[in-house]
Symmetry: C2
Subunit: 258 residues, 2 copies
DNA sequence: GAGTGGTCTAGACCACCCG
DNA sequence: GGGTGGTCTAGACCACTCG
């Protein structure tokens, strides 16, 4: 996981996995296999060599091979059948759609120019709903950041974020007045709360007068509404958001596993 | 994974993991820990004993302990910090919301009475869109099943499913005329295509006249629209659906991981 | 430096699938 | 019966964190 991006798409032949650098063997094996699948050298639906063969070929123990292939199974690129073998999945549905990204990362991934303008920035008392989501007392403060977000200069989202004041006031206020919403999550990480997971509820709604005015759409237009709680590695909730997306400009794709 | 449901919630003390039954040791360890977390014996945020200690306590090797705890990390119940320890996550956001379920399983889980009535059942040529999703030729046949679905006697969803005729015609037609839509996925499994994953696109739309009439709602009412492709273990697409959900009656919750 | 998780080995036996 | 993945061992050394 840690090393994934470093050598993703690195070119390596099956036999060359000398541990010259500080990269774990199972990561090299994993990326070697990933590259062979991407290049078509290993065809979709094809059976891999057995774990024993791979171990011999890579010059490692079988457990190390399994550690590499297990990652690719999690990624949806391989699957195992007990007593039969390990296979490459067909149109290999990668797990990217179930990865947590923020608006800006997601836009960049798709070559879209994303922009956010801050409409409100205030410190308020948590509402019951927000306090519950963020595990705060009712009288605790939260930082409220309301932004309007554009993709390729089209307004697509009105975003209300609420952040525990107790945890992040310093790291956020030290950047004022030119606060950079794009890298909010890195502020969380800086305080020891790396973002790990989000739970989001999705609904279809209609735009009311107020929302319509702000987003320059018709009242009654379809809105994809999202309510999201973001959690850090240890399970601490770090952000709660209401998110109003233009129905005609925005769709959401997710991958679910059984 | 295979054994999970069998002994989930089984009561086991930390020291009692004799391999009397055919249950793998790492599953027993995993479920023992899971149970200790659920019961509060292991508090949230608390540090687990080290892997060496657990190995000694359970009388297994360290690798076996890791195999058990790794599963719980995937489930979001634990997290590791290199050089520090393994910890219980706080409000432990379990992964249930990112699990693929069908309408009926999902309803049962929440104690809702679900019902489906079949509106259409036909064999047609695949449209370009459907052929692309199901990896079929344009002239290939698909089975189209249109159903209206109720939760606690309220109409919530209009569901259009398309299934490759070539793969599943026998197993579906042998049940006619009383076809049981609830267990469609078990038919796929019977033919060697266990359902593994789904990719779904979610949009907010408005009900048009036709949809409004069928679902007994107003034209212009909000609709949560879902387009979903379901894949088997080996990556074969087995089902493509259009899904129109009443916006005021239906919401979707998903978990995303970073 | 002590304690922890991260990686890795070189075997072993079992359970499953298929011809 | 032969080949495969599933489980498991009893060690080893490294990398990281913290006091």
């Amino acid at each position: 996981m840690i090393y994934g991006h470093q050598i993703r798409s690195a070119l390596m032949s099956m036999s060359d996995i000398s541990n010259t650098e500080g990269i774990p063997l199972y990561v090299k094996i994993r990326e070697s296999l990933r590259q062979q699948i991407a290049s078509g050298e290993l065809e979709r639906g094809q059976k891999l060599p057995s774990e024993d063969e791979l171990a011999t070929k890579f010059g490692v123990s079988r457990m190390t091979v399994r550690q590499g292939t297990s990652d690719l199974i999690d990624d949806g690129l391989l699957y195992r059948r007990h007593g039969v073998g390990t296979f490459v999945t067909l149109p290999h549905i990668e797990r990217d759609h179930s990865r947590l990204t923020n608006f800006f990362e997601n836009s960049n991934m798709h070559g879209i120019h994303a922009k956010a303008s801050i409409l409100e920035f205030e410190v308020i008392h948590a509402t019951p709903k927000i306090a519950q989501a963020l595990l705060l007392e009712l009288d605790e403060f939260v930082i409220h950041i309301k932004t309007l977000r554009q993709a390729d200069d089209v307004m697509v989202t009105l975003h209300d974020a609420y952040i525990p004041h107790r945890l992040f006031s310093e790291v956020i206020q030290e950047e004022l007045p030119d606060f950079d919403v794009q890298h909010l999550w890195s502020k969380f990480e800086k305080k020891g709360y790396p973002v790990k997971q989000a739970v989001q509820k999705i609904e279809a709604r209609l735009a009311d007068q107020e929302l319509a005015k702000v987003m320059h759409i018709q009242a009654g237009a379809p809105i994809l509404f999202k309510e999201r709680t973001v959690y850090a590695e240890d399970g601490t909730p770090v952000e709660f958001t209401y998110c109003f997306n233009r129905g005609d400009m925005y769709s959401l794709t997710v991958t679910l596993n059984r």
